[in-house]
Structure formats: structure tokens, C-alpha cells
């Protein structure tokens, strides 16, 4: 396996960048997601107003893939409607399952498509999809 298809520059950037890793002041949705077997453990917080995700951030620990995937996801869904965000989650899951190819997902997922290589690495699939499942859960369960 070619590690450079996993640890790409953009993934490394997002792993090290901390701009989405902080607390939110006005949280409307909060969800914890984790992979018990490998210890990825993130808490995703959203501020949704008038059906639009006006802010999002995360906290927690995890491997480079899960951290980068979370950070890239947040950049992607900020400013989008709840429905758009759900749509993106579903496209991403299908990308990782190999059900849609990167070119066709490009418009919806933008540079997140770089994660499509993960589909061939069973050990990492869970890391890549964690944030997205967590987002989906969060959107289903507003804080109150």
C-alpha cells in the first residue's frame, strides 16, 4: 500500500491545523462519537440557526485520518443548510464505500474527496467516517 495516498499534504495540514478544534459558545447540537477499538473519540458541536449550520467545531482525540476528516467536514458544512449537510454525509459514506467515484463526488465534497483512498484500507475506514456519522446523529438530536 502506498502510504502517501493516505498521508497526503492536505490531510496532514488539517490534522495539524486547529482552527476547527475548540469550544462553541452557542451550541444547538452536540454529539459524541467514538471508535472503541482504536480510541478515536470526538465531540462535535453545531450552532444551527434558521436551518443553517452557522458554526461548527470539534474537540477530542484521534488519529490523523479522523482528525483531518473531522476538520475538513466542518469546513465543508459550515454555512450549509441541514439538508445540504445530510446530503454531503451520505455522499461521503458512499464515496468511502466505493459506491460513488471521486470525480462524481467532487462537486459535493470538494477537497474532501482526497479521503477516497481510504476505501481500500479497512483499518482506516472507521476513522474517516466517524465525524460524518457523528454529524448525522447530531443533526437528528438537537440539544433540547
Amino acid at each position: 500500500m502506498d502510504l502517501s495516498s493516505v498521508y497526503t499534504e492536505i490531510i496532514m495540514e488539517h490534522n495539524q491545523a486547529k482552527h476547527n478544534k475548540h469550544q462553541l459558545t452557542a451550541t444547538t447540537h452536540k454529539e459524541r462519537g467514538h471508535n472503541p477499538s482504536c480510541g478515536d473519540d470526538i465531540t462535535l458541536a453545531l450552532t444551527v440557526e434558521d436551518n443553517i449550520i452557522i458554526d461548527a467545531a470539534y474537540d477530542g482525540m484521534g488519529c490523523a485520518i479522523s482528525q483531518a476528516s473531522t476538520s475538513m467536514m466542518i469546513d465543508l458544512v459550515k454555512g450549509k443548510t441541514v439538508e445540504e449537510a445530510r446530503e454531503k454525509v451520505s455522499t461521503f459514506i458512499r464515496l468511502i464505500k466505493g459506491e460513488v467515484n471521486p470525480d462524481d463526488a467532487l462537486e459535493a465534497l470538494e477537497d474532501v474527496v482526497v479521503l477516497s483512498n481510504i476505501k481500500n484500507m479497512p483499518a482506516r475506514v472507521k476513522c474517516a467516517v466517524l465525524a460524518w456519522h457523528t454529524l448525522d446523529e447530531a443533526l437528528n438530536n438537537p440539544s433540547e
Partner: protein
């Protein structure tokens, strides 16, 4: 330090079948020598019959083979009586059995159980859930920065009124040994009993339950070159006799009537149903193999490797070893992290170089939380490892930070 020769690796078909693999995850489960594989295969392919039941020779021979393992285990851990050896499906079942059939029967509201913060979930969650259900007090002995339980902590936590202390002999997560003798002594002073989790110790060092005065000792076959699905519960006879049957069914009964049953004597009373016969036979073969090599040889070899690996790792300034590096407090397990790198990435990058290590919380979340280390990379050794395995690990560890986009 000189490199070791592969005196024993040749006994393990696993390595012939995986010539490129560096296997450093024996604390999770060990590989099996030909001697064990053949014992199982011979039984399964030529001698299989159910035990304790048949009126024919094949069944009697199977029963004798099975019972002979009880006597091997007895000798292996220095027990006094064969009926003190109960076969289970593994450490997890052994502990659950003690919790529900011993502690569940004898402890009363307000009684106290003491664990250490080093415990594997298997020696923690069962006690915790019993404590919740029965309103018992559950306390922990904590560790110092080196991962060691200090004498003071033992004195303070194990006080009058403590009924049970459940303690691992060696942490599977960070490889640190516990002061087991002191803990046993103190617990007996206050009138409690000690449950020793030997999952990580029994495969690697000589044990004598009588001279160490252990009340209960549990361990798994699959961490000492035998099959998965088999384990041992040792208990002093006087304690085992006060236990309720853990499961009801065939072989553990005497007379069954529609509304009442009388139960068999030990050990049968605690072993219901068709057991893992081939698993038990594999355990016997594994003990023979260990005895053939000699536990001292195994121990010395592993500790030499551990020392060597500690030395090599200490030369890499971005490697942070968790817990003491003083070999006298350690088993053949080393936990570490690479600066700025999550252990899962470390393991993944090493896997790509065919080096199998473990990463994560090692089924010891409360420990990780206490140490404020969310996860670690862990390597562990057994008789089939050699210094070349360590050298390969080091070579590829050096690439990890580079892959993650750090300078070195």
C-alpha cells in the same frame, strides 16, 4: 548486547507462513508452536469423543487426556489439589465466575472491594457492576508517575473491612508489574481475599500459588500458546466450595429430579456442559512446551528483548515511554507514544512495513484517563521474538513522524 538466535522460532509455523512479519502483539494473543497445533489436530482428527460420558474406550481416553491437563495445570502453578483447577473459556469468564458465584454470594451492602487503576476491563467492569447492583463500595489503588503502586497506597486503600482485592500481576497496557506479594500480605492482614489476574503474568514467569498464598488466580490459554476459548480459574478449595454453581447443565449434577437437583463435587460442579476439550488439550501441550524450554529461559529471553528495546527506543527523542523503564518492575510489554502522532497512525504505518503492534486504550480506559494519555502504541514479546524484530521496529518507527508531515 548480542543479538539472539532463533532457537525457538522454528517451532512456530506461523512465522514460516508469514516470513516477512514482525509480530509484536503477544500480549493480545500468542502464536502456537507445532507441538500445540499437533496435539489439537491429533485429538480432533483421530481421538475425538465427548468426555465424562462414554462407556467406550475412545471416550475414556479423551476423558483421561482431559483430566491429565488438570494435573499439568496444577503442577504448573503450584496448586495443591487437582480440584482447585477449574477450566473456563478464558480470563474474562474466570473473573465473572468469581464475581457472581463467590463475591455475589458472600458480599453484603456496604462491603468494600479494592481494585487497581491498572486493571483490564475484564477485571474491572464485573466488579464495578456488582458494586452498583449490590451497593458495595469500589475503590482503586492509584499509581505514581512511573505506573507503580506505592507501599503507602496499599496501606491506605486496603484497610479493615475490605473484603476483596482484585489485582493484575502485570498491566497489559503499560507492562508494569504490581507489588503482588505486598498486596496479598496486606489483604490477608485485614481479612480479605485476593483475586489475582494472571493473564499477563502466568505465561511469562513461574508462579506458585501456595507459597504466594493466592486465593484466586485466573489466566487465559491463548496468551500462553494454547487455543482461544480456554482459561483457568484457580481457587483455594475452601473458597471454591463456598461458590454457587456458575452454570447449570450436564456433568455438574448428581441427581436431577423435576423440581430439585443435587450437584457434583469439585471440579465438575463448576464446569457445566461439554467443555472446550481441544482447547484444554492445547493448554496441556502448551504447558509441556513451556516446561520443555523452561520458564526461566523464556523469562530471561523476553527480559533481554525488553531491555534491548527500551535502550533502542530511548535513543529516539520523540518517543515517550509510558511508565517505568526499570526492568525489575516490568514484564515484556512496552507502551509508548511518538510526539504529535496518534498511536493508531503509528500502528498503521508500522503495519505497512509488516510490523504488527497494538494501539489504543488496551481495554484499560480508566488507566488511560488517569494517566491522561488517550491511547498508546504497545509492543510485546514472547519466546519467538528476537532482537532483529526490535531493530526492524526501530527502523520503521523512524519513518513515522516523517509520514505525518513532521520534520523527523
Amino acid at each position: 548486547m548480542e543479538t539472539t538466535k532463533d532457537t525457538y522460532r522454528g517451532d512456530f509455523p506461523f512465522f514460516t507462513n508469514n516470513p516477512d512479519l514482525v509480530y509484536l502483539d503477544s500480549a493480545a494473543t500468542t502464536q502456537k508452536p507445532t507441538q500445540v497445533l499437533e496435539a489439537t489436530l491429533t485429538y480432533n482428527g483421530a481421538q475425538h469423543a465427548n468426555i465424562h460420558r462414554g462407556a467406550y474406550e475412545l471416550s475414556i481416553e479423551a476423558t483421561n487426556k482431559f483430566d491429565a491437563v488438570r494435573s499439568k495445570v496444577k503442577a504448573f502453578i503450584g496448586a495443591s489439589l487437582e480440584e482447585e483447577i477449574i477450566f473456563t473459556s478464558g480470563t474474562t469468564e474466570s473473573i465473572n465466575m468469581i464475581v457472581s458465584s463467590y463475591a455475589g454470594l458472600h458480599l453484603e451492602e456496604g462491603d468494600e472491594i479494592v481494585l487497581s487503576i491498572l486493571e483490564h476491563h475484564s477485571n474491572l467492569v464485573p466488579w464495578q457492576q456488582l458494586a452498583i447492583a449490590r451497593k458495595l463500595k469500589l475503590s482503586y489503588m492509584y499509581i505514581n508517575d512511573l505506573g507503580i503502586i506505592e507501599p503507602d497506597e496499599i496501606e491506605v486503600k486496603i484497610h479493615d473491612g475490605v473484603k476483596i482485592v482484585a489485582i493484575t500481576m502485570m498491566s497489559n497496557a503499560i507492562g508494569v508489574k504490581t507489588p503482588i506479594e505486598a498486596i496479598i500480605k496486606r489483604t490477608h492482614q485485614v481479612g480479605g481475599i485476593v483475586v489475582v489476574d494472571g493473564a499477563q503474568a502466568v505465561p511469562h514467569q513461574a508462579i506458585d500459588v501456595v507459597s504466594m498464598d493466592m486465593d484466586f488466580l485466573v489466566f487465559s490459554g491463548h496468551k500462553m500458546m494454547a487455543s482461544t476459548g480456554v482459561g483457568v480459574l484457580y481457587g483455594k478449595k475452601a473458597l471454591l466450595e463456598t461458590m454457587a454453581p456458575y452454570r447449570y447443565g450436564g456433568d455438574m449434577i448428581e441427581y436431577v429430579e423435576e423440581q430439585v437437583t443435587t450437584f457434583a463435587k469439585l471440579p465438575s460442579r463448576l464446569e457445566a456442559g461439554t467443555p472446550n476439550i481441544e482447547g484444554v488439550i492445547s493448554l496441556g501441550a502448551a504447558i509441556d512446551y513451556i516446561n520443555h524450554i523452561g520458564m526461566d529461559t523464556i523469562h530471561n529471553h523476553e527480559m533481554m528483548l525488553t531491555q534491548y528495546a527500551l535502550l533502542k527506543l530511548s535513543e529516539l527523542d520523540y518517543v515517550n515511554i509510558i511508565g517505568t523503564t526499570d526492568i525489575q518492575f516490568k514484564g515484556p510489554v512496552i507502551s509508548f507514544n511518538i510526539r504529535d502522532v496518534h498511536s493508531h497512525d503509528t500502528a498503521f504505518i508500522l503495519d505497512n512495513a509488516h510490523i504488527a503492534i497494538r494501539s489504543g486504550h488496551h481495554c484499560a480506559q480508566p488507566l488511560m484517563h488517569y494517566m491522561k494519555v488517550p491511547s498508546t502504541a504497545r509492543i510485546s514479546f514472547y519466546i519467538y521474538n528476537n532482537t532483529e524484530d526490535v531493530d526492524q521496529l526501530i527502523t520503521h518507527l523512524k519513518e513515522v513522524r516523517r509520514w505525518l508531515g513532521y520534520g523527523s
